[in-house]
């Protein structure tokens, strides 16, 4: 199974996620959960996937994360 590559996620998307913390649209606990998940060096399915962090979702395909969604936006692929 492929390991995640954070290079593929543009800096602007990463900055935008953090800005949503300032705007209280995502919680500290959920951002911390993302940090811990990254540290676990997760293995991912080959096709499209998404992970629910509560106040936001992360989507990707194979080892490449694609974007962050709000909690209400629909995600496609395998839930991990």
């Amino acid at each position: 199974m492929p390991k995640i590559s954070w290079h593929s996620l543009p800096l602007r998307l990463k900055q935008h996620l953090i800005e949503r913390l300032h705007q209280r649209e995502i919680t500290q606990a959920d951002l911390e959960a993302l940090r811990i998940w990254i540290g676990s060096d997760p293995e991912l399915p080959d096709g499209p996937w998404w992970k629910d962090f509560g106040t936001f979702k992360l989507t990707g395909e194979g080892r490449f994360p694609k974007t962050f969604l709000t909690k209400d936006q629909a995600a496609f692929g395998q839930k991990i």
Partner: protein
């Protein structure tokens, strides 16, 4: 014993962050699990090193006490790939550093949420990007 001036010189030249190279991070993960990467900023997107603020290590060491830290050092020096018990001194030190880093990260998030000046907000935002996604 170092003199007062020598101590001041040491403090003045000390790096605020220690960086553990990727191969050592991998060895520690084999022995202690992925919680090792929670001790600091894991630079997953670049060289795989782990950056730990010295203040975090100091806080953890003070919390454990010098005897426990010395025991942990002895265990860590043992170049073994055997997974150590969670109750070992080295495991306790790693957990203490992880907890101290967690507090450091939460304080940074709170400072960012409370910031009102644009330059400070930008600085903290970029710092948080690095803490979450690595350098």
């Amino acid at each position: 014993m170092p003199t007062f001036i020598e101590l001041l010189e040491e403090i003045a030249t000390a790096k605020p962050v220690i960086s553990i190279p990727a191969d050592e991070v991998d060895r520690l993960v084999q022995r202690f699990g992925s919680r090792v990467r929670q001790m600091g900023r894991w630079n997953v997107s670049t060289n795989g090193s782990l950056d730990i603020p010295v203040t975090v290590i100091r806080e953890a060491a003070l919390s454990l006490g010098s005897r426990a830290v010395l025991d942990a050092i002895t265990e860590l020096k043992t170049d073994s790939f055997t997974r150590l018990l969670d109750s070992s001194a080295a495991s306790l030190l790693i957990d203490e550093i992880r907890d101290a880093y967690q507090r450091y990260f939460r304080q940074m998030m709170s400072r960012y949420q409370e910031a009102t000046e644009a330059p400070e907000m930008t600085r903290l935002r970029d710092e948080l990007v690095r803490e979450v996604f690595g350098e």
